[in-house]
Amino acid sequence: MTITGSKKLQQAAGGNTDVALAARGLGHAYHGRNVLSSIDFEVRRGEFVCIVGPSGVGKTTLLRCLAGLQASTSGTVMIAGEPVTEPVPGVALVFQDYSRSLMPWASVLHNVTLPLRANGTSRAAAREEGLRALTLVGLDDVAAGMYPWQLSGGMQQRVAIARALAYNPALLLMDEPFASVDAYTRADLEDLMLRLQRELSLTVVLVTHDIDESVYLSDRVIALNGSPASVADIVEIPLGAERDQVGTKSTAEFAALRGRVHALIRGSRGSADATEARE
């Protein structure tokens, strides 16, 4: 079901258009207060896009709307040309809080295969898919048999990524996935995502507050700005497919792009501070 779902999604996306995900005039309000306003962007198939903005700007709300977990108060989300009203097949989500998004009573493998088993994949096929996905993120059969809490934080987030990969996603949504791990592990996981995205031709939308991370990972960066938040600008990141933590980040081009995104975000933070000061 998942597989057919994502195939259908890919066909639909590839059939008439190359757009995997589109937000059109998306807005959201909590108790009458606008958090997001007229968000417009498109994500093409096989693209790595980061949505970056300061903490509290409404990034998670945006991602929840994109995932169909939350209905937006205005505008629409289109996945494969269809409006999203609930979670759709072929869209996988990775949460920031790996320890709470993994089931502590189930083995790593069972965690990874849950979406497959729940959607009707046979035990044997799910096991095979699960082990394959775990191998992709660098976890072996021994780790597959352990409980998630026996692993380090970075390893647990790898399990969450493997769970999303086993789902064979046409679109991978990630909510601050590396915000809860240390800097060294974060760099490892960033490189892992770059490699996986390239090798599996994944379409990834990653939400982060980290400007360096957004520039390092993305083909395009969507910078959120203002209160209520809207898209300040979409920055193309022409850094090529091969990137590395030291080399890429020390180029003048990286610094310029980083500065550009930073300026876009500072604009929004400045106005947010002004609003707070008035209140």
Partner: protein
């Protein structure tokens, strides 16, 4: 540290805690010491208090040994255990599903809270005279008292347990389109187990206490009745022997519960033996 956890995780070898033999021996020794001290205190009390108010430990244990050879003793123990087990079963079978069902809905949780708080503060012994009028001093009568007293912690903890249906795991399940039935059996139930077990642990103790209290106050057959009967016939060694038996039952029930919980919740943070973090 991170590189360390990385390497241990990829090879799969986790650091195993070294068994601390000396620590364990010391613990056993202090436990035995405290028991000896308690027995000494008991002996001292029995020697100083007026005669026939408290027999010595030796006298009580001897009497317990004698009683253990009689059929009446085992009938009483069996009856008490039967009432206790039936009470716990009813409380679990009713309290857990009803609690989970109420907790599933926010409105149901909020609207029932006041009634449950009201009902659970009524001492079960206060309704004993009424139940005694209806059923007489019988198994059924004690059972009603036990259930009315012990069901509340089980039910209320189950309500709390169900509130984690709004957790990140529920969100994760929704995003992966996990069907509701699968979510309930594979995610919701295991996730609510720690809370339910807390309620059951409290409920188990209350069940046993109320069984014996109910028997004692109403004269329904069981250990409680034996205590009351011995007291009325001024047979204090027999009375203390049965009090001791009820304490031993409590220990056994509690111990059994803890091992069941350790097995069922072996994944839970309170039982984790090793962690890479």
């Amino acid at each position: 540290m991170t590189s360390n956890t990385l390497s241990t995780s990829t090879t799969g070898a986790l650091p195993r805690p070294v068994p601390q033999r000396t620590g364990r021996l010391l613990r056993l020794a202090t436990q035995a010491g405290v028991i000896v001290l308690a027995l000494l205190l008991w002996w001292f009390a029995s020697a100083t208090l007026p005669e026939a108010t408290m027999p010595s430990p030796v006298e009580t244990l001897a009497r317990m040994g004698q009683l253990a050879l009689t059929g009446g003793f085992w009938d009483a123990v069996g009856q008490t255990l039967l009432t206790f087990a039936a009470g716990l079963l009813i409380c679990t079978v009713v309290g857990v599903p009803v609690g989970l069902a109420i907790g599933w809905s926010r409105i149901a949780t909020q609207s029932t809270r006041l009634v449950f708080d009201f009902l659970r503060t009524i001492p079960p012994i206060a309704i004993l005279p009424l139940v005694l009028l209806i059923y007489g001093p019988t198994f059924e009568m004690v059972l009603v008292v036990v259930v009315l007293g012990a069901i509340w912690p089980i039910l209320i903890q189950s309500v709390y347990a169900a509130r984690q249906g709004e957790s990140l795991l529920a969100e994760m399940s929704a995003s992966f389109r996990v069907p509701r039935r699968w979510f309930v059996t594979h995610v919701f139930f295991p996730g609510s187990l720690p809370f339910v077990m807390t309620g059951l642990r409290v409920g188990t103790t209350i069940c046993l206490l109320l069984t014996i209290t109910g028997e004692l106050l109403s004269g329904a057959p069981g250990i409680g009745f034996q205590i009351q009967d011995a007291q009325l016939s001024l047979d204090t060694p027999r009375m203390y022997a049965y009090v001791l038996v009820s304490a031993v039952l409590g220990l056994l029930v509690n111990g059994g519960f803890w091992s069941a919980q350790r097995y069922l919740l072996r994944w839970h943070a309170s039982n984790r033996k090793e962690s890479a973090r």
